[in-house]
C-alpha cells in the first residue's frame, strides 16, 4: 500500500514536469474546455434572457456561474483519453507497463494527478477573467465547500474507474472507440455537461437518475455552487460510493481474465 502510494507520487512528479515542458499543448487543451463552456454559457443565458430572466431555476447570472465553475469541475474530473489506451495496446507499449510491479491503474492515476495540478496555474486566472466578463452569481456555503474536495475526488475516481472497466475491453477487441463514443454521447446530456440537469425534460431526468454520469459531474458542480441541501448532498455521496464500489469490483474481476486474454503486439 505504502509502496503503491510512493510510486503514485513519483509518477505524479514526472508528469508534472512533462506537462510543464509542453505548456503550449496544455494551454490549447484548456482552451478547448473554455470554448465548449463558453458556447453553452452564451446559449443558456440568451434563453434565460428571452424567457424573462430564468430557466429551470437558473437566472442569467447563475447560468454564468454554472458554466464558469463547469470548467473547473470538468478539468478535475477528466483528463484520460480512451484513445490513449487503445494506442498503447496497438503499439505494444502496454507490455512494459504490465511488467512493472505496480498496477497500471495507479501509474495512469499518478500521471493524471500531475497534469491536473500543473494546469491549475492557467485555469485559476482564466476563471477569474471569465468572472470579470460574465458576472456570475453563486452562493458560497462553507459546508458545501468543505465537502467539495471529497466529492471531486470521488467523482474523478468513479469516472476513471468506469472508463478503466470499459478500456479493458480493448484487450479483446482493439477497437473500443465506438464503445466510448456511445458513452460520451449519453454522458453529454445526463451528466449536466450541456446544461444543468434541472433544465432537462422529465423523461430525460428519469434516465439521468438511473445512470452514474451525474455523480461524476453535476453533483460536485452543484455542491460548489451551493445549490444542494444537506440531504441532497448526503444522497449524492452515497450514490458516488455505491457506484464506485460496484465498478471497482467489476474492474477487478474483468482485469484478471483480461490480462490472461491479452495478446502482446510488437516487442
Amino acid at each position: 500500500m505504502l509502496r503503491t502510494l510512493k510510486i503514485l507520487l513519483a509518477e505524479t512528479k514526472i508528469s508534472m514536469m512533462a506537462s510543464f515542458q509542453y505548456r503550449v499543448q496544455e494551454g490549447m487543451a484548456l482552451l478547448g474546455l473554455l470554448v465548449e463552456s463558453l458556447v453553452y454559457l452564451v446559449v443558456w443565458t440568451t434563453i434565460a434572457r428571452a424567457q424573462g430572466g430564468s430557466v429551470g431555476g437558473y437566472t442569467e447570472g447563475e447560468f454564468a456561474g454554472y458554466f464558469i465553475a463547469w470548467t473547473f469541475v470538468r478539468h478535475m474530473t477528466t483528463g484520460w483519453s480512451p484513445w490513449w489506451m487503445e494506442m498503447r495496446i496497438r503499439r505494444g507499449e502496454f507490455n512494459t507497463l504490465l511488467l512493472r510491479p505496480i498496477h497500471p491503474y495507479f501509474v495512469d492515476m499518478g500521471r493524471m494527478m500531475g497534469m491536473k495540478s500543473i494546469a491549475m496555474f492557467t485555469l485559476v486566472p482564466t476563471i477569474f477573467l471569465l468572472s470579470l466578463i460574465f458576472r456570475p452569481e453563486f452562493a458560497l456555503i462553507p459546508w458545501s465547500l468543505l465537502t467539495l474536495l471529497p466529492a471531486l475526488v470521488l467523482a474523478f475516481l468513479l469516472r476513471y474507474t468506469l472508463m478503466y472497466a470499459l478500456a479493458v475491453t480493448a484487450f479483446w477487441t482493439t477497437r473500443v472507440t465506438a464503445l466510448f463514443e456511445l458513452w460520451f454521447a449519453v454522458e453529454f446530456f445526463t451528466s449536466g455537461r450541456v446544461a444543468p440537469l434541472s433544465v432537462l425534460p422529465e423523461w430525460a431526468l428519469n434516465i439521468a437518475n438511473v445512470l452514474p454520469f451525474q455523480w461524476m459531474f453535476a453533483f460536485p458542480l452543484e455542491l460548489l455552487l451551493g445549490r444542494l441541501s444537506p440531504q441532497e448532498a448526503l444522497h449524492g455521496f452515497l450514490m458516488q460510493a455505491l457506484w464506485l464500489t460496484g465498478t471497482a469490483i467489476v474492474v477487478r474481476l474483468v482485469w484478471r481474465s483480461a490480462v490472461k486474454q491479452y495478446a502482446a503486439v510488437g516487442g
Binding site: 499543448q25 494551454g27 465548449e36 463558453l38 452564451v42 440568451t46 454521447a185 450541456v194 425534460p201
Partner: protein
C-alpha cells in the same frame, strides 16, 4: 495548364479513394460516429427549443440549417483539408516533404491535394440531407438564385478555412511543433454549431476574422434563411480572395526559407 491540374487532382483523388476502399469496416465506424454526433446536435436543439420558441431570432428549423452546414463543412474539412495539412507537418518533421518539393509541379497544389479521406465524406452527405430536410420544412423560397449564393458563400468559407490551415502548416517550416494550433482551430470551430450572432461582440470578431467560422458556417446558413445581406456577401468574397492570395504568398515565402530536414 488548368486541364493538367484538374487531371492531376483527379489522379490523386482516385488513388486516395482506392486506398481507403481497402478498409471498408472504417466506413461503418465513421457512419456510427457521424450519426452519434448528429444525434447530439439534434438533442441539443430539442433541449433549447423545449424552453424557448426562438434563439436570438432563429427558429428551430433555421437552426437545423446551421447544424446542416456545420456538419457539411466539418466533413469537407476532415476529408480534404485536415489530412493534407497534417501530412505537411509530418513531412517537415520526418523530412518526407522534400520528395514532394522535388516534383515538377506546383508545390502548393501537390501538398493540398495528395491526401483525401473518403469515409469522412459521410458527414458531407449527412449534412446535405439535414439541409434539404430543414429547407423543405421551412418552406423557404430557395430558388436558383439562393442556391447559387449559398454555394458561393460556402465555397468562400471553405477557401478561408483552407488558407488558414495552409498558413498554420507553413509556420511549421520555422516551428516544428505546431500541432496545438490545429487543435486550437478545431476547438474554436465547435462554436459554429450556433449562429455567431448570439456571441458577445469580442468573441464574434474572433470567430469572423481569426477563425472564419462566421463565414464558413453562419453566412451560408444565412443565405438559405433569407438573412444574408449584400454587404456580407461582398465581404465574404473579398476576404476569401485576400486570404487565398496571402496564404499562397506565405507558402512561397516559407519555401524560400525552407532548408529541408534530411539534408
Amino acid at each position: 495548364m488548368m486541364l493538367r491540374y484538374l487531371r492531376l487532382i483527379w489522379t490523386f483523388t482516385r488513388l486516395s479513394a482506392l486506398n481507403e476502399l481497402q478498409y471498408r469496416a472504417n466506413f461503418f465506424m465513421q457512419f456510427f460516429s457521424s450519426l452519434l454526433t448528429l444525434a447530439n446536435g439534434l438533442i441539443g436543439l430539442a433541449l433549447v427549443f423545449y424552453h424557448t420558441e426562438s434563439l436570438a431570432g432563429w427558429e428551430p428549423m433555421e437552426l437545423l440549417v446551421v447544424v446542416g452546414v456545420y456538419t457539411l463543412i466539418g466533413g469537407l474539412i476532415r476529408a480534404i483539408i485536415q489530412p493534407n495539412m497534417w501530412r505537411i507537418l509530418d513531412g517537415v518533421h520526418e523530412g518526407t516533404l522534400d520528395f514532394t518539393l522535388t516534383k515538377p509541379e506546383d508545390s502548393q497544389l501537390l501538398v493540398s491535394m495528395a491526401n483525401f479521406e473518403l469515409w469522412k465524406l459521410v458527414d458531407v452527405i449527412i449534412g446535405i440531407l439535414v439541409l434539404v430536410y430543414a429547407v423543405l420544412k421551412i418552406e423557404a423560397r430557395v430558388g436558383i438564385e439562393e442556391a447559387v449564393i449559398f454555394t458561393l458563400v460556402l465555397l468562400c468559407g471553405g477557401l478561408m478555412v483552407y488558407s488558414l490551415w495552409l498558413a498554420i502548416a507553413t509556420t511549421s517550416f520555422w516551428v516544428v511543433r505546431i500541432w496545438s494550433l490545429f487543435d486550437f482551430f478545431e476547438n474554436m470551430y465547435q462554436a459554429g454549431r450556433w449562429p455567431v450572432g448570439i456571441y458577445p461582440s469580442w468573441l464574434r470578431m474572433i470567430l469572423t476574422f481569426l477563425v472564419p467560422v462566421a463565414f464558413a458556417v453562419t453566412a451560408p446558413a444565412e443565405a438559405l434563411t433569407a438573412r444574408l445581406n449584400t454587404q456580407m456577401l461582398l465581404l465574404a468574397l473579398v476576404v476569401a480572395a485576400l486570404s487565398l492570395v496571402a496564404s499562397r504568398m506565405f507558402w512561397k515565402f516559407g519555401l524560400r526559407n525552407y532548408t529541408g530536414a534530411s539534408a
